[in-house]
């Protein structure tokens, strides 16, 4: 359990039980907790909670309706964690990096060991083979770079809060619906509930009855899964296709060169 998660759990449960956040924050071991305690005691609870790791929407709810803090935890635990959700993308990129590294090493070894002999026998034939193998090496490097770039794009997108992936929108909508359900579970007044919904960019303008919220959440989750699967399908097809083509190119180059040389002796 991380210190940030411990603070989130402890404060959520305690606030739901009616315990004030300030004294609790003072007892937390983190450096920012003392500053957060001062903010909380000065009436800036939302800022204090954000400082110890609460998400902005969670802090907004916890300040205005502390009884909802526990239902919020329960509802959010039913949503997929970012890293768990995106792990299949990282797995696929890991395979790409591994296979393209091996392929790169094989092409480089062939270029270093076989091409000089071919050039010695027939400069024209050997040079063609050498150029093709160099092309394979360069394309493998580009593929590795692309895999690394996509990995950084996926991980950075989650940490920096921008939404480059198709599944981020549906996941965000599912989160907004889950938090609205938590407010309903905790019996929040209609004005507060309405204010929360008006502040939600994705939920705004949709039906917010309990049944509608549940439907929005489940549909948004299914939509996020489909979106991830579409992305993975394209990524795997393009990546494995490119790696297979490069392997065939390297192999066929060597075989064709050998066949061309064979006829000369």
């Amino acid at each position: 359990m991380t210190a940030r998660r411990m603070a989130e759990l402890l404060l959520s449960h305690a606030m739901a039980d009616g315990v004030p956040a300030g004294p609790l924050l003072r007892r937390l071991p983190s450096h920012s907790a003392l500053q957060a305690a001062q903010l909380a005691e000065a009436g800036q609870l939302e800022e204090a909670l954000t400082m110890v790791g609460f998400a902005a929407d969670q802090a907004w709810i916890a300040k205005r309706w502390p009884a909802a803090a526990r239902p919020v935890l329960a509802r959010l635990s039913q949503l997929p964690d970012g890293l768990v959700f995106e792990a299949p993308v990282l797995q696929t990129l890991g395979y790409f990096a591994l296979v393209s590294t091996l392929q790169l090493a094989a092409a480089a070894a062939l270029h270093r060991l076989v091409v000089p002999s071919l050039v010695a026998m027939s400069p024209a034939v050997g040079a063609t083979g050498g150029h093709t193998l160099l092309l394979v090496v360069v394309l493998d490097l580009l593929l590795m770079g692309a895999a690394l770039g996509i990995g950084v794009w996926v991980v950075a997108g989650r940490h920096l809060g921008f939404s480059p992936h198709g599944w981020r929108g549906p996941l965000g909508l599912a989160r907004e619906a889950a938090l609205a359900e938590a407010l309903r579970d905790a019996g929040a007044p209609e004005e507060l509930f309405g204010a929360y919904v008006r502040g939600c960019s994705r939920l705004q303008g949709r039906g917010v009855s309990p049944l509608e919220l549940e439907l929005i959440r489940t549909h948004a989750l299914a939509d996020a899964v489909f979106s991830l699967q579409r992305f993975l399908g394209g990524l795997r097809l393009a990546g494995y296709g490119a790696l297979t083509m490069l392997a065939l190119l390297a192999l066929s180059t060597i075989m064709v060169q050998l066949a061309q040389l064979g006829g000369r002796f």
Binding site: M1, M6, L10, S77, D81, Q91, G94, L102, L113, V114
Partner: protein
């Protein structure tokens, strides 16, 4: 279905029937009737008989004791089921870890052995310089399987703590079981943050509530760790196989290199 799964399901069925207003002994009898013939059904029926006798007879397991208590609350039944499910998660994490560690450790010697047998006729052919390569091939042919078996034994005997998510699941199960029995909870065994959370919640909400809140979090953490491990471990397994793949590629590249070298002599 696993025994723990069946036990958890039985407790959840009884809790659901109790929530609908049924008495404990009736809910137990109904749920026991729905079980397939076996040890668990016998245990449930024995608990039911003890219950009708007014608590006479001794329970052989904590589950039987819980089933045989007419004053067991619905929450106790649900938390009992949650403890069993946490144990199930622990088993699951151990099996997954053994599978991936087994493949990563036993896979390379097995593949090397297979490669050595397949390339044996080539290495024994006319014109191939034997020596070191032939000796290596012979070693791999005969040592691959024993090495793989030794690796599997090693994986089998690995300490449970190396299974990702196992520790959290076991701690969650222990917390739930101890909370339902009112036992003293081993805070020192928890990691510092979990321990601090437990201590703070115990002070404000009581030991049982604190244990249940922490157990829920530990279970979720265990599932999260297992899910990530399940996705990323195959990549690590594949990395373990890289040396063998390199040898395999070398086996393909060597004849090509030898041909070009011999052609170059003309």
């Amino acid at each position: 279905m696993n025994t723990l799964e069946r036990q958890g399901l039985l407790l959840r069925q009884i809790a659901a029937l109790r929530r609908q207003g049924m008495a404990h002994h009736q809910a137990l009898a109904l749920a026991a009737d729905g079980l397939p013939v076996g040890e668990l059904r016998a245990l449930a029926q024995r608990a039911g008989r003890n219950l009708t006798k007014g608590g006479e007879g001794t329970a052989s397991t904590p589950l039987e004791a819980l089933l045989g208590r007419s004053d067991a609350s619905v929450e106790e039944l649900v938390h009992g089921a949650a403890a069993l499910e946490a144990r199930l998660w622990a088993q699951c994490s151990l099996r997954t870890a053994r599978l991936y560690y087994g493949v990563a450790l036993a896979g390379p010697p097995l593949l090397a052995c297979l490669l050595a047998w397949v390339t044996a006729p080539l290495l024994a052919g006319e014109g191939v310089d034997g020596g070191m390569v032939a000796a290596m091939g012979a070693v791999l042919r005969w040592s691959g399987v024993p090495l793989a078996v030794a690796a599997l034994f090693l994986v089998r005997s690995l300490h449970h703590s190396v299974a990702p998510g196992y520790r959290q699941a076991v701690q969650a199960a222990a917390l739930l079981e101890l909370a339902s029995r009112g036992g003293d909870l081993p805070v020192g065994l928890l990691d510092p943050n979990a321990g601090a959370f437990f201590a703070a919640r115990r002070a404000s909400a009581g030991s049982e509530t604190a244990a249940r809140e922490l157990a829920a979090e530990l279970c979720a953490e265990s599932q999260r760790v297992q899910a990530i491990f399940g996705q990323l471990a195959p990549v690590l397994g594949a990395i373990a196989l890289v040396p063998i793949v390199v040898v395999g590629l070398g086996a393909v590249a060597y004849p090509v290199w030898a041909i070009t070298q011999s052609l170059g002599r003309y």
